[in-house]
Symmetry: C2
Subunit: 195 residues, 2 copies
DNA sequence: CGCGACGTTGATTTGCCTCAACGATTGTGG
DNA sequence: CCACAATCGTTGAGGCAAATCAACGTCGCG
């Protein structure tokens, strides 16, 4: 059953009847992304919100100079989407692209409205998830202005120990807000300091 | 009528009956803060969510080294609070302090639950507000890693032209993520460049 | 009045960027 | 299947933005 991980995830937050589970399975469709394929592009409307079953994705913003900045990664059991675009229909602020072949469970805005009507308790879960995202970006911002790149890197490693195996190094550099060259030097410095 | 500004604000989002307005007026209590007084402290539970009627406040985080970082200001018609602490009862991530004598309309968690039951359309409004906050912090983060302090300062001035009259300069520096000395130099450079 | 809060200026240091070059690996078309 | 291109990580030299440390003037207020 492909929806098993999602059901388990939701049951961390709320209790589901068998009927609820069936509704959820019917609402979320399996979707495959090839490596480098996009879930949606910055500027387009984001019409899919996704739960990652497996694979790895990156969420990034392209600035006016054409530089890409990784806002986040998306790993199994994480949610990915542009909520403002998804709910309000505005152009997406960022792009989402698979770094590896990935399996997702996706839902569209109308279906999500339906789902909320059928299982109102889900509203609470998603509200909490949005709050966590908000806190996460507050922390990223604080780290960006008050910590060195070394500290931010160590911090990332502490949160996602196997991140190096999951995404290429220049994507990690982008996530940290530095250049690949700087991350390379930084890592060497850390290794030499450890001796 | 002290709740007038709040009613006007809400009516930008949803339509209110006279009965709704009465409910809102009953739910939000007027609160006064003296200069330097706190709405709540980092680490405490945030039991008040506030709508600013007038005055100026700062939202800030104290890091492990004791340095304070301004996450945001709060000006008339802005909301201020720690949503995660407010809803989940966790310790507040930041502190909120009045920079000037300020008038607020405040609500407590239980009252807000009541309010949502009576006027469900408000849930939608607050969801949109949270999304805007999320987008705002994404932008702050991106600016912090990809723009110079000059650009961030110009950006702030564009968004809040009279910010210099509202808050002292070292608070602005903190908001920008730089030291007061740097902001002072930066401003002189901009003035000289203009000549 | 005198103290503390605030802003300014100077000298020096540091963290990361910029530009450039170069191996190693991956992947792709002939 | 090989050859060549593209992608990725590393290393070096030099530069710049902002931090750091320190000193000083001004203003407002108890």
């Amino acid at each position: 059953m492909q929806h098993e991980d999602l059901i388990n995830y939701i049951e961390q937050y709320i209790t589901l009847s068998d009927a609820d589970k069936q509704i959820i399975c019917d609402s979320y469709k399996v979707m495959h992304l090839d490596k480098k394929e996009f879930l949606f592009h910055q500027g387009d409307r984001c019409e899919t919100e996704a739960f990652v079953l497996n694979g790895t994705l990156r969420v990034f913003y392209s600035d006016d100079k054409g530089n890409e900045h990784v806002l986040n990664f998306a790993l199994p059991t994480w949610w990915v989407g542009d909520i403002t675009s998804f709910y309000e229909g505005s152009p997406a602020f960022m792009s989402v692209q698979a770094l590896e072949p990935s399996e997702l469970l996706v839902i569209r805005p109308e279906q999500k409205e339906e789902l909320f009507k059928k299982i109102p308790a889900l509203e609470r879960m998603f509200r909490i998830i949005i709050q966590k995202h908000l806190t996460s970006y507050q922390n990223r911002f604080l780290a960006a202005i008050s910590k060195t790149a070394d500290e931010r890197y160590m911090n990332l490693l502490a949160r996602i120990p196997n991140i190096e195996q999951l995404v290429p190094q220049h994507q990690i550099a982008s996530y940290l807000g530095i250049l690949p060259e700087s991350l390379s030097r930084l890592k060497r410095k850390l290794i030499e300091a450890k001796k």
